[in-house]
Homo-oligomer: 187 residues x 2
Amino acid sequence: MKENTGKSKYVVLGMLARMPQTGYTIKKWIENEYSHFWQESFGQIYPTLKKLVAEGLAVSFEDSETGKGRGRIVYSITDAGRKVLLDWLCKEPEIEKLRYEILLKVSFGENTEPEVLLGHLDDFIKRNENLIKDMNGYIEHFDLLKAQGTDCTYSQLTALSGVYMYSAMRDWAVKAKNVISGKEDDL
Amino acid sequence: MKENTGKSKYVVLGMLARMPQTGYTIKKWIENEYSHFWQESFGQIYPTLKKLVAEGLAVSFEDSETGKGRGRIVYSITDAGRKVLLDWLCKEPEIEKLRYEILLKVSFGENTEPEVLLGHLDDFIKRNENLIKDMNGYIEHFDLLKAQGTDCTYSQLTALSGVYMYSAMRDWAVKAKNVISGKEDDL
DNA sequence: AATCTCATGTAATGGGTTACATGATTTT
DNA sequence: AAAATCATGTAACCCATTACATGAGATT
């Protein structure tokens, strides 16, 4: 039998380490604050939660009295779960495999008119600019929480990575536009 | 039946648009110059090539006289293939879904000692620094080709994106190290 | 002689998204 | 009353990697 190399397990475990919560809130959290470097679907989260319980890494209890939805299931991490999370944290992170479709299109740019790429790059710049704003919003939000005594240094650092990443891609796209449209010769 | 949303088809088509070549050389090319934004395995490339021929987007001929290996199969793009490639190039690129395991670990940093993350960040910085060197090497190489009259602006631009991307991640990691080790308070 | 690179291919497995099914509560 | 959000879950499908199988030629 093969070792499970999937990471969903650890993401869910990490989320439960923060606070006991439901599959739904885990999804929302990842969607909001992790989107620039991670994503998980319900199709991964719910089965993963069940597996965690089966392996003794989490426990669940049904929260029926609140009457929200059709019975929320709140999961909590166990000591065994914390140990598994810690072991994973200590292992060297795997090298990331990225897939930027826009870079693929740029690399095949000779097969089309420059205007096509310039259009894609414009959209890309706008998108990155909006994402930088979002990320800066999160950073400010974490500053507020910090002022109230909540430590969120690590979350703030990941938001900061978004600012760096999106800014770099925006700057590159601006440069690429100038080169493609002939405004600049040199890189 | 579902539309094929996979991109391997277009990558292979784009490679064939550059020059007729074998599955093996396509793989090597992607490995060398595309690794920072794309990757394909033989398990994808060879079946894709066969499908392209079946769909009339490429043609193949066996290159047995050279006697290299056990009969190379050289593929060329057809006019129909060029049309499919062009259509794809004009479509808006999909939003990239990235997965940075190191950012995941940083975000769960409160569950471990700072030293663990500092170690990961050190490795990450070194790795990015090497990649920046590689990318700058490619850019210089393309400058040489340019001086010889070969236009490779688009390939050079994708290499440049690597420099921007890796530099941003390196800079972020240096900042993160300073914040985690307490040398810096503010972001 | 052994190993590396060139070269092609398939099968098994794993990982992940999407679509679908269901239904209550909250907001408009 | 309708729409959005909260909430859980499964099945089908697709995408991709890995392992395996094969073998020639070049290099060490």
